[in-house]
């Protein structure tokens, strides 16, 4: 995604450069943020394709080695290519949890076990889901929640096993997570927070999930959603600086003529792992490389977590749990399943969440992203004026 945006922007800015995109997947670059909607059938897989400007596409051509001194790269099929500038946008891989029974005897994933990161994953999962009876999703983060909702939309009973104290603890406080849990329950998804999956049960095919508590959940379909980790192997082998991600400076460079953007990049110790910063990094690098703004610098960004999974929606930013000296403004409505919360110090926004009622998501997200104060009436960030004046007046 970051690579497609970069290529599109280089073209839009009239960069005098020949751009080639190499990728191991068979598809042209696509919008990974929409994969759960492919699973539900809302999008056709081919519809996720992203614009890439005038770039040449080399799909199914995984880059397996780099020679950054000689400025050449090697492809899986043995081909080599020269380059002047190299941008690594290798993204991230699913994290494999320490779980017994993940692999079959031949070392491949057990039948019925899935990840949901690529269109190929999605196609396999959809095919399997068509005949499966019960699903368990291991991991209650963004990916886990959206995968669970998508499987539920296909008519499967779904259970989420989540190790953290509550769902989405990286983004949400306990109250917000509870609202999400209730909403999921309404869609046919049960959630077991503070539970660790210990092992998979079954012979050839997955038959269940053993929890650390000793309980066993019946399941012939299991989705691993335990987070992602930057794909840094290629960079590491090439001797580029790698911490959690590929370490870049404020020019997004990790070595002369070598850059990294998106989920694989680590900047000032931060790996964003979200689509919006990846897009912004791509735009900035395009301005640098095209000459439109050769001095542009990346100094980090605020981020906002946003999930839309059918009827389940939330927005969250900043801290989840409130520091002791902070003020908390909270509106919960169990009947309507909504939960809205702001964490403030003085009139400075520290964090916030909207679950179920996103009417102020735009105002709130702009205020957060631009670092504006909450203003004298912070409640206005949680409660929108009626959106349809004329209709109510009718």
């Amino acid at each position: 995604m970051a690579a497609a945006r970069l290529a599109q922007q280089l073209d839009a800015l009239g960069a005098d450069a020949e751009v080639t995109l190499y990728g191991g997947e068979p598809e042209a670059p696509y919008n990974r943020a929409l994969i759960a909607d492919v699973l539900t059938g809302r999008h056709r897989p081919a519809d996720l394709a992203l614009p890439v400007g005038a770039a040449r596409l080399r799909t199914g051509s995984e880059v397996v080695a780099l020679d950054t001194a000689g400025r050449t790269l090697a492809l899986a099929d043995g081909d080599r290519a020269r380059y002047d500038d190299l941008v690594l946008a290798t993204g991230a891989n699913p994290v494999l949890p320490p779980l017994r029974g993940l692999f079959a005897a031949d070392g491949s994933w057990r039948t019925g076990l899935h990840a949901l990161r690529s269109l190929a994953d999605c196609a396999r999962l959809a095919a399997d889901a068509a005949t499966a009876h019960r699903a368990v999703v291991i991991g209650g983060g963004v990916l886990g929640v959206s995968a669970a909702r998508a499987l539920a939309a296909l008519g499967l009973p779904v259970e989420i096993v989540h190790q953290g104290p509550h769902l989405l603890e990286r983004h949400l406080d306990e109250g917000a997570a509870h609202a999400v849990r209730q909403a999921l329950a309404g869609l046919g998804v049960e959630t077991y927070p503070a539970n660790r999956a210990r092992a998979l049960d079954g012979e050839d095919r997955v038959a269940g999930v053993f929890l650390a508590t000793g309980h066993r959940l019946d399941a012939d379909l299991v989705v691993l959603a335990c987070g992602v980790r930057p794909r840094t192997g290629l960079a590491h082998s090439a001797g580029l600086p790698v911490g959690r991600g590929i370490q870049v400076d404020d020019t997004l460079a990790c070595a002369p003529g070598t850059y990294a953007i998106g989920d694989c990049a680590e900047h000032r110790g931060v790996v964003h792992g979200l689509a919006a910063p990846a897009w912004d990094q791509a735009d900035l690098l395009a301005r640098r490389l095209s000459g439109a703004d050769p001095d542009a610098r990346w100094t980090g960004t605020r981020t906002l977590a946003r999930l839309t999974a059918g009827p389940l929606e939330y927005a969250a930013f900043g801290v989840g749990e409130a520091p002791a000296d902070a003020d908390v403004l909270c509106l919960g409505d169990a009947t309507r399943g909504t939960y809205r919360r702001l964490v403030l110090r003085g009139d400075r926004l520290l964090g916030g969440a909207l679950v179920g009622d996103l009417a102020t998501a735009g105002t709130l997200s702009r205020a957060w992203l631009e670092g504006r104060p909450a203003g004298p009436d912070p409640l206005s960030l949680l409660v929108a004026p009626p959106a349809h004046p004329a209709r109510t007046a009718r």
């Binding site: 497609a4 945006r5 599109q8 922007q9 839009a12 696509y30 919008n31 943020a33 929409l34 909607d37 809302r42 999008h43 519809d47 996720l48 394709a49 992203l50 614009p51 689509a275 919006a276 897009w279 735009d283 906002l304 946003r306 999930l307 839309t308 929606e313 996103l358 009417a359 102020t360 998501a361 735009g362 105002t363 997200s365 702009r366 205020a367 992203l369 631009e370 504006r372 104060p373 203003g375 004298p376 009436d377 206005s380 004026p385 959106a387 349809h388 004046p389 004329a390 209709r391």
Partner: protein, 698 residues
């Protein structure tokens, strides 16, 4: 005078009005004409009071020339014309023909626009001509041409609006800018249709809407693509229409995928639920329209932005069908006709191209000149002004029907460029701020005093008949062009008689995209206007375009598939707030006319800064406090007007006033790469309480 049926001097609605003799010593009475379908008798305050400017006291009645002491003094017509002709000749001799230039206006009649273009290309032999319409409709024009192969503001009559299913009004505030048009929106809702208004401000128009989307200024493009995304995702693409009547959908779908709703929410501030509601309303009924105005158009990505809104129409099959389509609500009185007949730097009459050999030959034949002698395309309005008085730029400039000192972007800079000219001549009926800088000011007749045609926002060609004679000392713009051309060695080819010019215009546009060949004054006298194209005297005109085919050679409309990009100047720590500009209900454009009408000035006496109470709170400012607004280009001071109608990250200023409160001192001249439209609608500013008098900053 006798009672005369005519049309309003102001906006592009060209409301039908009737002028009757007033009481003794009073200006003529004005009433709206019921039978004219655009306004059906309604007039706004500007139209009702338009006759005030006919009084000799309100206007110029003798030519002025700048004397040796630097003061403007009265002069005879022949002295004034001689001086200008001599300056034009001298500029061409010393610097080449392009050093004498022309700057026209979107309020000029078709005849004037046509003759002005001919004057530049034939009498001056200069490529240096453009006009203030570049600042109005150029982005919509470029996007329409790219999408449909033809640019006509509305491809349907305004009276179709009440019969569509849903109207999305983008960056348009007709409740203030063209009030008589609002009845069509009210009727739309009475008929069960819905209205969506997209505007950073909760305007009077937004208050009428079923749904108001309030995006950050400069993000209308992203919003359109977010809606297109939802159209694709929710299965609202009209596959049959897309396959049969369009090209380029795959690219549009790809760009829509790159702008998913949550991303668009972060860019625009429009919540995803509101985006979904907009798509639901727009697709709930089989017909729909998207109408844009200056909001999305006056941006450095205006062409792309309009293209994205057109894509929304094309993807849903809401174009080229009855009661559906995209339209631009043109602003100036002859914004439509003014852009068709050769005032534009790259165009010849009828939308012919200066770069197309066949077009050049066709017009050259009508003009009786060698096609090789026609200049090539010139530079756009802002570029023309920016280069004025510099090497390669104009040295002598004729301004007709425009007041760029108030209306141009980065107006302080433009003022300095105009001051650097060797010779500036301004034709106007009031002493505008631009006229105050001129070496020669020529007092010309106004709407009720001269005959001519205008083409309103529907592409409807209308005849305005002279109702009374201008005061002594006043002549017409056509006379000025005739007299200057004669002094420059072209005694023929520049008729003073409007009907004669119109007949020539008809010949020059025959077979062209904007074909007027079948329209005559006789026909216009008997009909409530004729929609072009009208290629033959027996042709009924074309109220609705594109019903069978779009105007590209293959008959198909083309998707634009643009992508979001930031505004040319995004806020930062030094200039943390966005400024957007616009109009108020009681004034028109640079205000040169309306500021001279007592009733209008009493209702709306001066500039102001509209800001959200939250922003005012951080500034410690109260309603009415004088605010200092600073951009990288200049400053403006005006009183605060607190309103929750505006986003807390944005301030609004109306642009009708000169001097300290001049909004365009702040605006940014970043140009759209295609249309060369400046970015009037968004720039970065710092807002502070103005220091008390006596402590003004240097």
């Amino acid at each position: 005078m006798t009672t005369t049926d005519t049309h309003c001097p102001y906006c592009a609605l060209q409301c039908g009005m009737r002028l009757a003799p007033g009481a003794a010593g009073e200006p003529p009475d004005i009433t709206g004409r019921e039978e004219f379908p655009v306004n059906r008798g309604a007039l706004c305050g500007k139209g009702q009071s338009a006759a005030a400017l006919l009084a000799p006291a309100a206007r110029l009645t003798e030519p002025l020339v700048r004397d040796a002491s630097g003061e403007l003094r009265p002069a005879t017509w022949s002295e004034a014309l001689d001086r200008t002709a001599e300056a034009m000749r001298r500029a061409a001799e010393v610097y080449g023909p392009d050093a004498a230039g022309v700057f026209g206006g979107g309020g000029l009649t078709n005849e004037k626009a046509y003759l002005l273009g001919k004057f530049a290309r034939v009498a001056l032999g200069s490529s240096a001509i453009d006009y203030n319409g570049r600042f109005c409709m150029s982005s919509a024009a470029a996007a329409s041409r790219a999408a449909f192969g033809l640019d006509r503001g509305l491809p349907f009559p305004l009276a179709d609006i009440p019969h569509t299913g849903c109207v999305i009004l983008v960056g348009s505030n007709p409740a203030e800018t063209m009030p008589p048009a609002v009845r069509h929106l009210r009727e739309l809702r009475e008929n069960g249709g819905t209205l969506i208004v997209v505007d950073p401000r909760r305007t009077r128009t937004a208050e009428l809407a079923d749904l108001h989307l309030q995006p950050l200024p400069g993000t209308d493009l992203a919003l359109a693509l977010g809606l297109l995304h939802l159209v694709v995702a929710d299965g609202h693409v009209d596959e049959e229409f897309v396959a049969a009547r369009t090209t380029g959908f795959d690219a549009a779908r790809a760009t829509a995928m790159a702008h998913w709703p949550e991303r668009v929410e972060a860019l625009t501030g429009v919540p995803v639920p509101a985006q979904r509601e907009a798509v639901r309303l727009f697709t709930a009924r089989p017909t729909g329209m998207v109408l844009t105005a200056r909001g999305p158009e006056q941006q450095s990505k205006g062409t792309a932005t309009v293209g994205a809104w057109i894509d929304l129409c094309l993807a849903t099959g809401r174009a080229g069908r009855p009661y559906s389509g995209y339209g631009c609500l043109t602003g100036q009185g002859n914004g439509q006709g003014g852009r068709e007949h050769g005032q534009k730097a790259d165009q010849l009459p009828g939308y012919r191209s200066l770069e197309d050999p066949a077009d050049r030959a066709a017009v050259a034949a009508v003009w009786g000149v060698d096609p090789g002698h026609l200049p090539r395309s010139g530079t756009s309005a802002y570029e023309l002004l920016d280069r004025a008085g510099r090497p390669g730029g104009v040295r002598t400039l004729l301004v007709m029907g425009s007041n760029p000192v108030v209306s141009a972007p980065d107006a302080g800079h433009v003022t300095r460029r105009l001051q650097a000219l060797d010779h500036l001549v301004v034709c106007d009926f009031v002493l505008s701020e631009t006229a105050l800088l001129a070496d020669v000011v020529l007092p010309v007749a106004q709407w009720a005093e001269e005959t001519g045609t205008l083409t309103n926002l529907e592409g409807r060609v209308l005849l305005r008949r002279a109702a009374l004679a201008p005061p002594p000392g006043v002549r017409t713009d056509l006379h000025v062009l005739h007299a200057l051309a004669a002094r420059l060695g072209h005694p023929r080819g520049f008729p003073e008689d409007a009907e004669e010019v119109f007949a020539e215009l008809g010949r020059a546009t025959a077979g062209a995209p904007a074909d007027y060949a079948g329209i005559s004054y006789d026909r216009l006298t008997g009909e409530p206007g004729i929609h072009w194209p009208c290629p033959a005297p027996g042709h009924p005109g074309t109220p609705r375009l594109f019903l069978d085919r779009f105007a590209h050679p293959d008959g198909r409309a083309r998707f634009a598939a643009p992508t979001h990009r930031p505004s040319a100047e995004e806020p930062d720590s030094a200039y943390p707030t966005r400024l957007t500009t616009g109009r108020t209900v009681h004034h028109y454009q640079s205000g040169a006319q309306t500021r001279r009408v007592a009733a209008l000035t009493a209702a709306d006496p001066g500039p102001y800064v509209e800001l959200h109470p939250d922003l005012a709170d951080t500034l410690g400012a109260d309603d009415g406090d004088l605010l200092l607004v600073t951009s990288r280009r200049g400053t403006a001071t005006a009183p605060a007007r607190l309103s929750k109608a505006i986003r807390p990250d944005t301030v609004f200023m109306p642009f009708h006033w000169p001097g300290a409160g001049r909004a365009n001192s702040l605006t940014h001249a970043a140009l759209d790469p295609v249309s060369r439209m400046p970015e009037f609608k968004v720039c970065a500013v710092r807002v502070e309480k103005a220091p008390p008098a006596g402590e003004a900053r240097p």
